[in-house]
């Protein structure tokens, strides 16, 4: 803070001692004076000139000792050190804060479904009453999609019982928010009538979907379901079908949310579904 005073003193000194010399080199000493009055410093010694840095930096030390001490310590002083440490701490704090913020944003975006796996899509199948059903009929509510077949020996019936319990638990909390869908992998034998009878033993609200061999094959493909149904079977021949045993949770816009497996109990699965439902926002709002 003492520098301006020092400078003013030095300037006045210099002006008093060598005014002619200053007039010979106006550009080097009065660099910032207005261009329209380049010779102002020679014409008048008013107070405006006193503020101009008329002397170069190397003359700012009053004594040789001062200059020497400055030279010895170099650019380092306790002030410089304090400034350095403060700046470093500030930058560190800022970067740490930004890092945390970005991480939070990334997690939030991942939960919102950026980079969501491409599971599900358009379909056209028949429900258990023989009515045409497409993916549009499932819009506006969550759907829980399960693939199986009515002649399934063990896993499907168990999983369908589980699905019924899951559905009841979700229905108790959020009525009408979930559509339980069963898609057959065995369209040759699982006609709408067979499905209707089969599913009525599990839950009256289950939606059973069937179709032609090609329709079902396409459906399994969009849901990435392993499909091993034989295309041509001799009449009366019995066979089993291999299939994936996941529940696919789809959101009200038909996007895949999560796959629920055998490791989830109905209570756990219902909780997961309800949590997703409560967090859901339409993609228009999400973006």
């Amino acid at each position: 803070m003492s520098q301006p005073a020092v400078r003013i003193g030095a300037v006045l000194n210099a002006l008093a001692r060598a005014p002619a010399r200053q007039c010979l080199r106006p550009m080097s000493t009065a660099r910032s004076s207005p261009a329209r009055r380049p010779m102002a410093s020679c014409l008048s010694h008013g107070p405006a000139q006193a503020r101009q840095p008329l002397v170069q930096r190397r003359f700012k030390y009053k004594t040789v000792e001062e200059a020497k001490s400055r030279y010895r310590s170099g650019p380092f002083s306790w002030k410089a050190g304090l400034l350095f440490v403060t700046t470093a701490a500030g930058l560190l704090w800022y970067f740490e804060r930004e890092k945390g913020r970005m991480q939070q944003k990334r997690i939030a975006e991942a939960a919102k479904g950026v980079g969501r796996p491409k599971v599900g899509g358009p379909f056209e199948l028949l429900d258990q009453d023989g009515n045409v059903m497409t993916e549009q009929n499932l819009r506006g509510r969550y759907s829980l999609v399960y693939f199986g077949f009515s002649h399934c020996p063990d896993i499907c019936p168990e999983e369908l019982d589980k699905m019924a319990r899951m559905f009841d638990l979700v229905e108790a909390e959020l009525p009408g928010a979930l559509a339980p869908v069963f898609v057959t992998c065995d369209p040759a034998r699982d006609t709408p009538k067979v499905l209707k009878e089969y599913l009525s033993e599990f839950h009256p609200k289950f939606i059973g979907l069937t179709g032609t061999y090609d329709q079902i094959k396409a459906m399994c493909k969009t849901y990435r379901v392993y499909f091993s149904t034989p295309q041509t079977v001799a009449p009366g021949q019995d066979y089993l079908v291999d299939h994936s045993i996941y529940f696919y949770l789809m959101d009200p816009e038909g996007d895949f949310v999560e796959a629920l497996g055998r490791q989830h109990s109905p209570d756990q699965a219902a909780k997961i579904i309800i949590d997703h439902m409560k967090e859901w926002k339409p993609s228009v709002i999400r973006q």
């Binding site: 020996p153 019982d161 067979v194 021949q237 066979y239 089993l240 490791q263 109905p266």
Partner: protein, 117 residues
């Protein structure tokens, strides 16, 4: 036999349809099949037979009664499936035991027939 005879033949017809896989078993019919399967497997366990398809003669001798019931109450396809499943399940359990002895981490996956409550 009268009405009883008629009823008998009806249920016989249904049972043979189930065995052939022509109709879908109801919940009660599935339950009956699973019970027959479980008692057949229990018998095999008692006679320490792992694969009833491989040790056919031994299995037929040791568990003749259970086998007849199993084949009567389940679809033929299911019988074969369950027998194969049994072998795989026993092998898998043995392998898991082996891995556990080696200090492997157990994942929370259920593969047996009992549904979780």
């Amino acid at each position: 036999m009268g009405i009883l005879g008629l009823f008998q033949s009806e249920s016989d017809k249904r049972a043979s349809e189930i065995r052939a896989g022509a109709v879908v078993p109801t919940r009660a019919e599935r339950k009956r099949c699973w019970e027959a399967r479980d008692s057949y497997f229990a018998c095999l366990d008692a006679s320490s037979i792992v694969d009833p398809l491989k040790d056919e003669k031994k299995a037929a001798k040791a568990c003749a009664h259970e086998s007849t019931q199993f084949e009567r109450d389940c679809a033929t396809q299911w019988v074969t499936y369950f027998k194969k499943w049994r072998v795989q399940d026993i092998q898998k359990k043995a392998r898991l035991k082996e891995l556990e002895a080696q200090g492997a981490n157990k994942l929370d996956v259920e593969t047996d027939f009992t549904a979780r409550k």
